[in-house]
């Protein structure tokens, strides 16, 4: 029973286990939904199976698509995590439908119009109706799972500040540092016992989050497309880390950086100074699209802004040598990376520690950094 359904979900890369599948059967047997209870529609089965099988809202979208596919009678063997653009469908449908219908039409059972029983058009009663845009009257055309209202929670999608904060939180490390102000009870008992019963109080410092982050951000030029998302990331990072140092660069790192974009020519910080100022504990995070001319990375004098004495690649090497914990976060979608020569070069320099600016990418980066 429902074995195919289970495998459809597995094929859609949902982490469902046998135990959960058995629980679903148990629930069906207990008549939580079905003829024996007052909840017996397909919608109720959808809610129940989602309740039991899916354990994270980031999987809801995948589940919705898999559920839709299964109950449309489509055997899901291919990867439908790919999207079909809506306008393709619209185009095909328009092609199918235009030749015979010449004017506006209402009612009836064949042609597009409003209020009819044909599968096409708005507000009709055909149970398998197709609706393109617009708003339905009877909710039968687009089912609950087809609304895909959980799309935002899919972790391959882009993210909002709260999601970013949660992802960055992975980096938190608590350590005891500073002045001793908390009573160490275990230590006190131990010491007292060792002291033959005379009280010997031991104090220890409180736990603090002491992760240190050095953030280097690319600004201007091609990064203008990503301002909103990088801003979100930056504001989340500022709230999460106590020790956050940040500098800006343009396209590639050269011998100086700046902290204030308005005074970038007046207030320069030598990259050498930055390397010397912060110690190895700092985790180095680059944020940049790594999209530029390859000369800007590998050639001395290749910078678009001034005549740099040493190539950007040299500086990158020095930085990642000085900070062994590093990652590069790239706001460009991962799909286009392979078509950009400069991204490939940077990937090589940062030994493939480049992650996309999605929730999943960010989590991977943070997990790598906290190792």
């Amino acid at each position: 029973m429902l074995i195919d359904f289970f495998y459809t979900l597995r094929a859609a890369k949902l982490p469902v286990s046998v135990k959960e599948y058995l629980t679903l059967l148990e629930a069906l047997q207990a008549q939580v939904v079905g003829p024996g209870s007052d909840a017996c529609s397909l919608d109720d089965f959808y809610v129940l199976s989602r309740l039991i099988l899916v354990k994270d809202e980031k999987h809801y979208d995948k589940f919705d698509r898999a559920f839709g596919a299964y109950f449309k009678g489509v055997e899901m063997l291919t990867d439908f995590t790919q999207e079909v653009p809506l306008d393709w469908l619209e185009k095909i449908l328009q092609k199918e439908l235009t030749p015979e219908q010449k004017e506006r039409h209402e009612g009836g059972n064949k042609w597009i119009g409003t209020g009819g029983t044909s599968p096409f058009g708005n507000g009709g009663y055909n149970p398998q109706g197709i609706r393109i845009g617009g708003k339905g009257g009877n909710r039968s055309a687009v089912k609950v799972w087809d609304q895909r209202s959980y799309r935002d929670y899919d972790d391959t999608q882009e993210l909002g500040t709260r999601n970013i904060k949660v992802a960055l939180r992975r980096l938190r490390r608590f350590a005891r540092e500073g002045s001793a102000e908390e009573l160490d009870l275990d230590g006190t008992i131990h010491k007292t016992a060792a002291n033959a019963g005379f009280l010997d109080i031991l104090m220890r410092p409180e736990r603090h989050n002491n992760v240190k982050v050095l953030l280097l951000m690319d600004v201007g030029g091609t990064m203008d497309d990503h301002i909103a998302r990088v801003e979100e990331l930056f504001s989340a990072a500022k709230a999460e880390f106590k020790h956050l140092e940040f500098y800006y660069f343009h396209n590639c790192v050269y011998d100086f950086m700046w902290r204030n974009n308005k005074r970038r020519y007046a207030e320069k910080f030598e990259t050498w100074d930055i390397i010397r100022k912060y110690n190895k504990d700092y985790k180095l995070i680059f944020i940049g699209d790594a999209t530029m001319s390859p000369y800007e990375i590998v050639q001395p004098g290749g910078s678009v802004e001034y005549n740099n004495e040493e190539a950007g690649a040299e500086w990158l090497q020095r930085l990642i040598h000085a900070f062994p914990k590093f990652a590069w976060i790239n706001p460009e979608p991962q799909g286009v990376w392979e078509y950009r020569q400069s991204i490939a070069i940077i990937q090589q320099i940062v030994s493939h520690r480049m992650y996309p600016l999605t929730l999943k990418g960010l989590e991977e980066a943070m997990r790598m950094l906290s190792k």
Binding site: E26, V32, V47, L51, D56, S149, V166
Partner: protein, 284 residues
């Protein structure tokens, strides 16, 4: 036992089904959702509606799983043994007198079925959920000090809430049902408001709701206002007796709504909002 929503809590169809499935199969129900969508309230209302006593366990970053089971109060036993007068020397002999029962112990040994709320489980240490696997699955645990097995007489109805600050381990998730409380749509929201303010003026409400959803839709807000913030704001509007005109200027000009501090809890958000309002009014 079936949960059908209560007079002061609006449950959507899927939420009711989730609760009923958890009741029928006696599994813990893990509830997630944006802050302020009524996760904690759900447990209170379900317990109330079904007439079950509710035991609450609020988790902090320092909470240990053991504290929910029992604690052995060695210090007071030591004190009693040192200052031996007649009653305490009797007391000292029995270790049971120094076992402090935790919430799970109370829930398992209660004579009637109870509801148990484990609130904000994601605040605890990473190992916390793993330490409760057997307790929540088999509903039993072993007390080493007294060498007894504590087994649930009636499986309690367990609600667990999480704010998503930490990911929960898979083994733990497999033992729970999971429901994500979606942010209510405008219709549900109207129901919720009607439940909380039965006498609110209709025009005021519709204008306030529009303002609320407009603010929620502003791009770039750090913390979007949620249901509980809307309720607080309406409470203030009603308490201060703000006239309808204050929310809505005659020539439909955009203005900063009164008491906006109840909706936006972050000074950057307030500045952003003021800036947007200013820009819009200048463009007119």
């Amino acid at each position: 036992m079936k949960f059908k929503g209560t007079d002061n809590y609006v449950a959507t169809q899927d939420l009711m089904l989730a609760v009923n499935a958890a009741i029928a199969l006696k599994r813990p129900l893990l509830v997630k959702g944006e802050p302020g969508t009524g996760k904690t309230m759900l447990a209170e209302e379900v317990a109330d509606a079904l007439g079950l006593p509710l035991l609450q366990w609020h988790i902090k970053s320092t909470t240990k799983a053991q504290q929910g089971l029992y604690e052995y109060d060695a210090v007071s036993r030591l004190r009693d043994s040192q200052m031996a007068d007649v009653d305490s020397s009797e007391r000292v002999k029995d270790i049971n007198n120094y076992i402090l029962k935790g919430v799970l112990w109370q829930a398992f040994t209660a004579d009637q079925p109870v509801a148990l709320l484990i609130d904000e489980i994601d605040k605890a240490d990473i190992e916390f959920p793993n330490d409760l696997l057997r307790e929540l699955d088999r509903m039993e645990f072993y007390c080493y000090e007294t060498r007894q097995l504590i087994k649930a007489k009636n499986r309690p109805l367990v609600f667990i809430t999480s704010n998503n600050e930490k990911e929960l381990p898979d083994a733990f998730l497999r033992r729970c049902f999971f429901h994500y409380i979606k942010f209510p749509d405008a219709d549900t929201m109207r129901h919720i408001v009607a439940v909380h303010f039965p006498n609110i003026k209709q025009e005021l409400l519709s204008v306030a709701m529009k303002t609320f959803f407009d603010i929620r839709n502003l791009p770039g807000l750090k913390k979007k206002p949620s249901t509980s913030e809307l309720i607080d704001w309406l409470k203030l509007l009603v308490a201060e007796d703000i006239p309808l005109e204050a929310l809505q200027t005659a020539d439909d000009k955009v203005a900063i709504p009164p008491l906006v501090g109840a909706l936006l809890k972050n000074e950057q958000d307030v500045t952003l909002f003021e800036k947007l309002v200013f820009m819009q009014s200048r463009n007119r």
